[in-house]
């Protein structure tokens, strides 16, 4: 909200502030955030009013004039000017040497085509008074000379831009801010309100039919007004707040709102048909032309003001275009009413008209203030537009008494605030008398009883309901900086019922493992476009109802679209001939639907969040080195990442299945022959392998991209728990024996199978079998592969005999022959 320093000065004495900055500091300390301090005379320093004494042509340039300009006193100044619209005797705006104009021009002493010039005559565009202007600004001939232009234009003011929080509707006016400042300074307000109007009379009957949604309504009839241009003071006041002048009556209604905080409205009295005015709920389908010249169709949920025939105003939001005050208007009907904050908010939201009025009604106006506001409005209308009050009516729903507009009483123990804020009870700033004076300064009625206060907040403070609210009032009265800093006592009651620390510990383990393996953690938005999913053959079941753009419309069903996009963009800005290492991972939830996405209970959303760990790998195996070291990663680097991760997590029982052996048939995102399905027990926990070449080509990937995505929860089921520690296992003190075998097998026999057969047949002495060479080529028959296997035997309790190892080896060889048709290579 904009607050004008000079307007505020009408309400409260600001002379104790050396600058607007000091006032801003006070407001901030009291909870009114100042976002900006705008000096309206910014750029008007050294710009003064002056009079042209003489204008003569420039000796060297046809288009320029040389003027002699008077500031009223002192020697006239010589000014070279390029404009044509001035003549001797004109009053003008002179930017003197040293001025720095709003449009950025700095004025210095200069020579223009050989003639000295000691300033510049300004145009309205140079002063940023208008966007465009022709010629220089000519002021009225009555303008006094040598005065700051800012003062003449009413620009010697400073505007504070406040961010008023949603609980402080009472601060949305100059009166409201003045109350705060006065309370802080211990002052009384300077302005007094005009006396209340005498109620009674009027040509139209007012009916309230919306119950508690519109509990009271004050109407006032004025006849014989002259609608026209507003007086200067009014135009300027509204201008400083960024509002355009419309006419004197409309401007006054705005002025009342910014002065007192209560939105009011003026109708053209002759447009109210049928001698009746009703505040009622709209009828579904009813239409209402609004002041912004657009017609809305009402839903039936809105409160409207209606005459005998039709709706003429959307209550609390905007007046009707069918009853607008115009220059021809002679008779006025003024409205000051109370409407339900909730209903006004709904109407403003539904019809997308967040107005200054709805903003204030949503936050709550002073329900006890209607009389004061109306008397102020009406008396200003009479003063500015003339006319005569012929009647006024304050109508209330039911038999409301004034007491009903009061806030409920709050009971507060004498030292409760001390204890709650953390002050000692003998704190001087918080003596009982002090506490009372702070509250009374805020217009609270305070009654002290034996061990407690009864506090009644003023009617305009909707936010004061509990003793905690009063604690805040006291705290901000003395300043939050007075509150001491303590460390709370730890009670010995455990608080671990709902701890996520075990889960986080395991996440940390996984992240640390991937970082150790040379991966950077990426964080991608949880939403993406349908197009980016389409390209990867994916679909999302969770859509944002109000996305920022198509780019962020769907919740991600997988982390891979993000990582693949990251790889592509890294490639895009990579230059040079070296291949770029891509090593990225992410550990985050992905989203799917569990039935309909709707809140079926307080905690159930229908959205399934599944945590995944994913990584993408490409480029050289080492980060540095010579070309001979710079081979690119392949499937087995990718596999190593998974295996290292499982080892760090203590994950057991994971199997890798080639897609050809998978029951699910794999995953179309991956190259079918260079990828695996990961099984955790019997469940598919994910896949890793080469991004499918067709997708790679489609995306214009610059290199092979190896990707993995695994279901985090599945891995955790088979991993060491966060609180489980590894248990020591003794190793054999006795030397083992090794036997190497060169086998020839059919090419479709896997390494896995060879090892499994050996491990089974060589029991109990066999402790390991690993393949250390694989050869296909001219030395073996077509369709066959030569595989070198090393088998390791030992026993934890004794040295092995040559004989028993031979026997075990024979059994293994037999099994190989029988089960996979392996032959020893000749």
């Amino acid at each position: 909200m904009r607050v004008s320093w000079s307007w505020l000065s009408e309400w409260v004495d600001l002379t104790c502030f050396k600058s607007p900055n000091e006032l801003a500091e006070l407001l901030i300390k009291r909870g009114l955030e100042v976002e900006q301090i705008e000096r309206l005379d910014q750029g008007f320093e050294n710009v003064v009013t002056a009079k042209i004494l003489e204008r003569s042509p420039h000796p060297q340039a046809d288009r320029l004039s040389v003027c002699s300009v008077s500031l009223g006193a002192g020697e006239p100044l010589q000014i070279v000017c390029g404009a044509q619209n001035m003549k001797a005797g004109d009053h003008v705006a002179l930017a003197q040497v040293g001025a720095s104009l709003p449009n950025g021009i700095k004025i210095g002493e200069s020579k223009i085509r050989g003639v000295s010039s000691f300033g510049m005559l300004c145009s309205e565009s140079e002063l940023k008074l208008k966007d465009e202007s022709e010629g220089i600004l000519i002021l009225s001939p009555e303008t006094p000379l040598g005065r700051p232009l800012a003062e003449i234009l009413g620009k010697n003011d400073t505007i504070l831009h406040l961010k008023v929080t949603a609980n402080r509707g009472d601060c949305l006016s100059h009166w409201g801010i003045a109350r705060e400042v006065a309370a802080a300074l211990g002052q009384k307000l300077k302005k007094t309100m005009p006396p209340l109007l005498k109620e009674g009379g009027g040509p139209v009957a007012i009916h309230l039919e919306a119950g508690d949604l519109a509990p009271q309504f004050y109407g006032c009839w004025i006849e014989g007004v002259t609608v026209g241009a507003s007086p200067d003071w009014l135009v300027r006041k509204l201008e400083t707040l960024g509002l355009r002048s419309v006419n004197n009556v409309v401007d006054l209604s705005n002025w009342v709102m910014w002065e007192l905080g209560h939105p009011v409205h003026a109708y053209d009295g002759d447009q109210i048909r049928g001698k009746t005015l009703t505040v009622r709920m709209a009828i579904e389908g009813e239409t209402l032309p609004l002041l912004d010249h657009k017609t809305v169709q009402l839903s039936g949920q809105e409160i409207v003001i209606a005459d005998g025939e039709r709706a003429i105003g959307l209550a609390g939001v905007m007046g009707g275009g069918n009853s607008e005050v115009q220059l021809s208007t002679r008779n006025l009907f003024l409205e000051c009413a109370e409407f339900s904050p909730r209903s006004v908010r709904q109407a403003a939201t539904r019809h997308q008209r967040k107005t200054d009025a709805s903003h204030r009604f949503e936050r709550g106006i002073d329900p006890a203030g209607l009389g004061k506001v109306m008397s102020c409005f009406a008396s200003e209308v009479l003063r500015v537009a003339g006319g005569k009050i012929i009647g006024s009516q304050w109508v209330k729903v039911g038999s409301r008494s004034d007491a009903e507009f009061q806030r409920p009483e709050i009971r507060l123990g004498l030292y409760e605030i001390h204890d709650f804020l953390g002050f000692s009870r003998d704190q001087v700033l918080l003596s009982l008398d002090q506490v009372e004076s702070y509250l009374e300064g805020l217009d609270c009625q305070v009654v002290r009883e034996a061990d407690q206060w009864r506090v009644r907040p003023p009617s305009y403070r909707w936010d004061l309901n509990l003793k905690e609210d009063l604690a805040e009032e006291i705290a901000r009265s003395i300043g939050y900086d007075q509150i001491p800093a303590t460390i709370p006592a730890l009670s010995s009651t455990p608080v671990l019922d709902i701890s996520s620390i075990p889960q986080l510990t395991l996440q940390d383990r996984a992240k640390d493992s991937l970082v150790r393996q040379g991966f950077y953690e990426a964080l991608n938005y949880a939403f993406t476009s349908s197009e980016s999913l389409d390209r990867l053959g994916m679909k999302s079941a969770v859509r944002l109802m109000n996305p920022l753009s198509e780019e962020y419309e769907w919740m991600v069903p997988s982390l891979l679209p993000g990582l693949i996009r990251n790889a592509l963009s890294n490639w895009n800005h990579h230059f040079g001939s070296e291949s770029l290492p891509i090593r990225l991972f992410e550990l985050r939830p992905v989203f799917s639907a569990r039935g309909a996405i709707a809140a079926s209970s307080h905690t159930e959303t229908g959205v399934q969040e599944t945590w995944k760990v994913a990584w993408a790998l490409s480029g050289p195996r080492y980060a540095g080195g010579l070309r001979s070291d710079q081979e690119n990663v392949d499937f087995f680097d990718l596999k190593a990442v998974a295996e290292t991760l499982f080892s760090d997590l203590g994950t057991r029982g994971i199997r890798f299945l080639p897609f050809s052996a998978s029951r699910t048939g794999g995953n179309p995102l991956f190259h079918p022959g260079k990828s695996v399905e990961v099984l955790a027990g019997n469940a598919v926990a994910g896949h890793f392998g080469l991004l499918h070449p067709a997708i790679s080509r489609d995306l214009k990937a610059r290199a092979d991209l190896w990707v993995a995505e695994l279901d985090w929860a599945q891995l955790l089921k088979l991993s060491r728990g966060a609180s489980q520690v590894p248990i020591y296992q003794a190793w054999s003190e006795f030397p083992g024996m090794e036997r190497d075998f060169a086998l020839v097998v059919k090419t479709d026999v896997t390494v896995d199978k060879i090892c499994q057969v050996a491990l089974k047949a060589g029991k109990p002495l066999i402790k390991g079998a690993k393949v250390f060479d694989i050869y296909r080529g001219s030395q073996v028959a077509e369709g066959m592969t030569s595989i070198a296997v090393r088998v390791i035997f030992y026993d934890e309790t004794r040295s092995l005999q040559e004989m028993e190892v031979e026997a075990a080896s024979t059994k293994i060889l037999d099994a190989w022959k029988r089960e996979i048709g392996a032959e020893l290579r000749g």
Partner: protein, 343 residues
């Protein structure tokens, strides 16, 4: 024979001395001491020597053998040393050639910053709890005292996924879940991603928060201040001060915006400071005393008199950007290795 022995011995010692390579030294050893070596040849001739002379001759031969062996050994040491020296003369790497670097990785700045915060607060006794990112309107708003049609809803532009389902705009729903799940005392931190419809250099539609909640008997506002001061000093340095300004968040009362003194310009604010823009203060979080409405919503009974608590919410990206001088929030979410590899 003695003479013959002596002659062989002397000549051998001479040869050993003159040998310049380990290979020829070995040849000499074989030719003298080998099975068919000359010394052995001499000893074989012992059979033709008289019984009286034999021990004398034997002893002499053994003495020569020892001398020669000693000479061979010492010459070998010398020659080996020479050879190593020669070898070391030749063997030289260009140590400036590129190393076979392994890849280095790093945690995302958000993860690093969250970890630091959890560590600092953890030392004060906070537990950690996580919650879903898709949240009910009820837990995200209603239960934390932001009813439907309340102007406070304007403070947070919300993404909706379905009727009554939102992407959480803060992690306060997790606080509520914590209170619903257990009796007080509650001391939890809720870290996680949150979402608001806003996108520019200082607003991201997805960002992260660490919220804290402490509920117990007789918790005071001064406790909130002390806890935040401890956190600020741990994170920004021992001289850091904090400033609380009254503000409004529906789930707390009293509420506060919290600033920390600029860790770059320290005591004296400098107009040129690019961190605090000359104000000397950095706005970093919102906090306050838990609104009694939340206790009511959590079903904490009316007889829990003296129950109070504080809560705070810290924007993780904001802290990370301040500490690491990151100029644009969007950099954090682009997966750009040029960015990620700096931290």
């Amino acid at each position: 024979m003695i003479e013959k022995l002596s002659a062989i011995g002397r000549r051998a010692l001479e040869e050993v001395q003159q040998t310049s390579s380990l290979e020829s030294l070995e040849q000499i050893r074989v030719s003298l001491l080998g099975k068919k070596g000359s010394l052995n040849e001499v000893l074989k001739g012992l059979s033709g020597v008289s019984a009286e002379e034999r021990p004398v001759m034997g002893a002499a031969a053994n003495e020569w053998k020892k001398k020669i062996e000693a000479a061979l050994e010492s010459r070998k040491v010398v020659l080996e040393k020479e050879r190593l020296e020669q070898q070391l003369q030749v063997e030289k790497l260009d140590v400036s050639a590129p190393s076979r670097l392994v890849h280095r990785g790093s945690l995302h700045l958000v993860t690093q910053t969250v970890r630091r915060m959890l560590q600092v607060f953890g030392r004060l006794g906070f537990d950690v709890t996580l919650g879903p990112e898709a949240e009910t309107d009820y837990l995200n708003f209603e239960a934390v005292n932001i009813p439907a049609d309340h102007p406070a809803r304007d403070m947070q532009d919300t993404f909706f996924l379905g009727p009554g389902v939102v992407l959480r705009t803060h992690t306060s729903g997790v606080q509520m879940r914590s209170m619903l799940a257990q009796k007080w005392p509650v001391r939890v931190l809720c870290p996680g991603a949150v979402y608001r419809c806003d996108h520019d250099a200082t607003h991201s539609p997805m960002f992260h928060q660490v919220e804290g909640l402490w509920v117990d008997r007789n918790v005071r506002m001064s406790d909130l201040k002390g806890v935040l001061e401890f956190w600020a000093r741990e994170l920004f340095g021992a001289e850091t001060r904090i400033r609380l300004r009254p503000s409004y968040f529906p789930f707390v009362e009293p509420g506060a915006e919290v600033d920390v003194s600029c860790f770059r310009c320290r005591v004296k604010a400098s107009d040129s400071c690019r961190i605090c823009k000359g104000t000397g203060w950095l706005e970093v979080l919102g906090a306050g005393m838990v609104h009694p409405k939340l206790f009511e919503m959590a079903g904490y009974s009316a007889n829990s008199d003296g129950l109070s608590g504080f809560a705070f919410g810290i924007g993780v990206e904001r802290i990370a950007m301040l500490l690491h001088e990151v100029p644009d929030l969007r950099l954090l979410f682009q997966g750009d290795v040029r960015f990620l590899s700096q931290f």
